[in-house]
Symmetry: C2
Amino acid sequence: MPNADTKTRIMDVGETLFAERGYEATSLRDITGKAGANLAAVNYHFQSKEGLLSAIFQRHVGPVNRERLLVLDAIEARASKRPPNVEKLIRAFLAPAFARRRERGADGARFMQLAGRMHSETNERLRSLLLDQFEEVAKRFGKAFSRALPHLARDEVSLRVHFLIGAMAHTLLWSDTMLGFESRKRRNVEPEEALESLVRFTAAGMTAPVAPRSEEGRR
Amino acid sequence: MPNADTKTRIMDVGETLFAERGYEATSLRDITGKAGANLAAVNYHFQSKEGLLSAIFQRHVGPVNRERLLVLDAIEARASKRPPNVEKLIRAFLAPAFARRRERGADGARFMQLAGRMHSETNERLRSLLLDQFEEVAKRFGKAFSRALPHLARDEVSLRVHFLIGAMAHTLLWSDTMLGFESRKRRNVEPEEALESLVRFTAAGMTAPVAPRSEEGRR
DNA sequence: GTCTATAGCATGATAGAC
DNA sequence: GTCTATCATGCTATAGAC
């Protein structure tokens, strides 16, 4: 959308470059140059580089997280007393992010990549951008997974949720340019295909038995 | 080790800062300052900032990947004709990285974090640093997983390996300062505990049935 | 092998005209 | 709201003395 107003154009380009190269590796000059805007416009509209990232991130993550919570509401209303189904919980968590990609085309793909990247961001200030946005989702889904997996220790559930998030973040970041693991050939992965496969994988992982199948495989 | 020679001190500090803040966010001045070395020393010993990262990375990843391949050799020798056991393959891939942490203490923990971070590096030049080092491991383990999961399509195996790597990378990056998913309380996770849990999770994921349990959970 | 000094350029941010 | 010009600082890298 090269005809959008300056503020939007900056956000669009910023989204692309932050997603492709990362926050630190992208300069405001890169962004304003590509957006056909003046360098000073970033500070005028967003106060700072961090402000720009924040605005970009919230544009997508707000709707995605609202959708996640809506689906979770529906699941809990239907399950009411019984513990919720793990695969449904996982799908409620993952599908809205992948759906946004389908709905928004290139825009959505860029957001997915940026979101994946933010999960490995360790800068405290940038990280709290992400954590603030996820506070309610984290709390609600954490509780739901604990209820759905009552036989697991709390810490074990927490670990497994981290694995789920890691697998998701990696998929969001790379599914556009995924490399074959054996050869280095690139291939694109359809978001729907990646989602279905990821749900299967993580649902099996979350519900895995606590006691290892055999304790001799250790060597 | 504040008494090591300059070259080693630079590598140690570089490892710490690259792991904590990322490559782009760390300057050579940060490194040489903390290492009590001269700014020019980096270029003298390592030619460039990239050269330093490369040296740091190879110091650990070489031994880890050699160990991975040794264990894989043993598994394939024992299984010979039959397809190898998936959980053993996973353990062969994951355990050497976690073992290095146990053996090397703080050094190993820093390396784990750096390694986790490299998996979400998209800079082509830095990324090929990682891919070059992993070429043989990727090829051998890719083949082994395909043999161990003959009922799955090649692309499905490849996707699942990516999920495995994503879960691993996230765990390597965060296990030192893992946040509870519900509350934001930090807690440290013992590497052994994380490894065992990760193996269980990913073994279940890799061996998950292809056909979804029920196709109505879609909504 | 280590130092100082500096080249040469990029950075985020802002002041102030229009 | 957009521009130019510029500040102050940071960056990687190198030349050359010791």
